[in-house]
Subunit: 206 residues, 2 copies
DNA sequence: ACGACCTTTTACTAATCAGTAGCTTTTTTT
DNA sequence: AAAAAAAGCTACTGATTAGTAAAAGGTCGT
């Protein structure tokens, strides 16, 4: 008996609509950002009315937070499902690729926009912070392991490397490559991987 | 006779207050962002009333655009004043350092926030676009020259290198290093330079 | 088929904020 | 020193939007 079988048809429909709302919100957050996204926008995009929307999420902040939580859960899931034989550096590269592809397909970057209001709102959510912490710990372990394996520079502190890595997931260079450079998604992923791991300097330059 | 001598004392005071307003706006844009910054905030921070503010700038968009124009003018000036003996790569490094220090001292990043409204507003301003174009052309020439000198990788397109470079000026990693890592401004500048030019991968890794 | 219950919607409220009208005070000119 | 002019300020307007109350519609068991 599946977990869904316990729910009535109506409850299943409710859960389904919740996902539709989260999808709509994700698209709107990606295109307009939190401040400019209105709850009427969300309701319209999801095909329901605003009061129905409030049956699912108690506020705009709650809604946006749930979207970010779902995104982080996706990342944690992806990381857990990675081939066990992959090196730490390859895992880092693979997760970056996943995050970039999510974004290129109209999704959101891991790292929320610079808006301090959004940042504060997220840090107030225990469920969100728990996931950030869990992901960060796993990432720390990966970087340390990659350093030991000789694949990552040891002259940069691990937290600096992680900040640089996280920032790549919301790097505006991606948008510029897509909209001005007209590069393919595959090409963009390759370039970003090159930029984060080997930089723009020539290999033999000081 | 200086140019200012042509202006009455009152006109001089007017110009001075304009700079005060631009400074206040810069601080507010850096801390709250465009959407959350109100014109009452600006007037309060600048120590004048809102209608006086509108004597200087005809709209909120106009004000923000002028701030960005002043920032770009600063960059163009800095670039023009650089020691003629510097290599192209060193000029790129030096300008990045300048941009990062401006930001670390409460200023704005070159690249405006991801908000599409802000982006569209800026592209409507001919004065802004002219400066972006001028700076971009100079940067292109620098990257090409650095490639020829063997200081920058030739396997990445010049525009990709430039997008990566511009993105560093608004990189959230800077904020993380400052607020969580507690690194000094000098240290942050060094790390960012390392990250953009040589990447996070070990030198001998594939 | 009927009535109780639950869901969705239309239409509102309160708050916020960009931009302005008209009065007051200060400065300039004669 | 008085009239004229200009700058600033207080107090407003209209538009937008998060969140809600109450009506309208649908669904279920009996």
């Amino acid at each position: 008996m599946s977990i869904l079988a316990k729910l009535s048809f109506k409850d299943q429909a409710f859960k389904l609509r919740e996902q539709t709302v989260l999808d709509a919100t994700t698209r709107l957050l990606a295109s307009k950002g939190f401040d400019l996204m209105t709850m009427d926008d969300v309701a319209g995009e999801a095909g329901i009315s605003k009061p129905s929307l409030y049956k699912h999420f108690k506020s705009k902040e709650d809604l946006a937070t749930e979207v970010m939580i779902r995104l982080l859960d996706g990342a944690l899931e992806y990381l857990a499902a990675l081939d066990a034989s992959l090196s730490s550096k390859d895992r880092l590269g693979s997760l970056l690729e996943w995050a970039l592809r999510v974004r290129l397909q109209g999704g959101l970057p891991f790292l929320p926009s610079a808006s301090p209001q959004v940042k504060e709102m997220l840090t107030r959510s225990i469920r969100y912070v728990t996931r950030v912490y869990k992901l960060h710990k796993q990432m720390q372990a990966l970087v340390e392991a990659a350093k030991t394996a000789g694949d990552i520079r040891t002259d940069l502190p691990t937290d600096v490397i992680l900040y640089a890595y996280y920032s790549r997931t919301c790097d505006p260079a991606v948008d510029y490559m897509k909209y001005y450079g007209r590069y393919s998604d595959d090409q963009i992923v390759d370039y970003m991987r090159a930029i984060i791991f080997t930089g723009i300097g020539a290999a033999d330059a000081g």
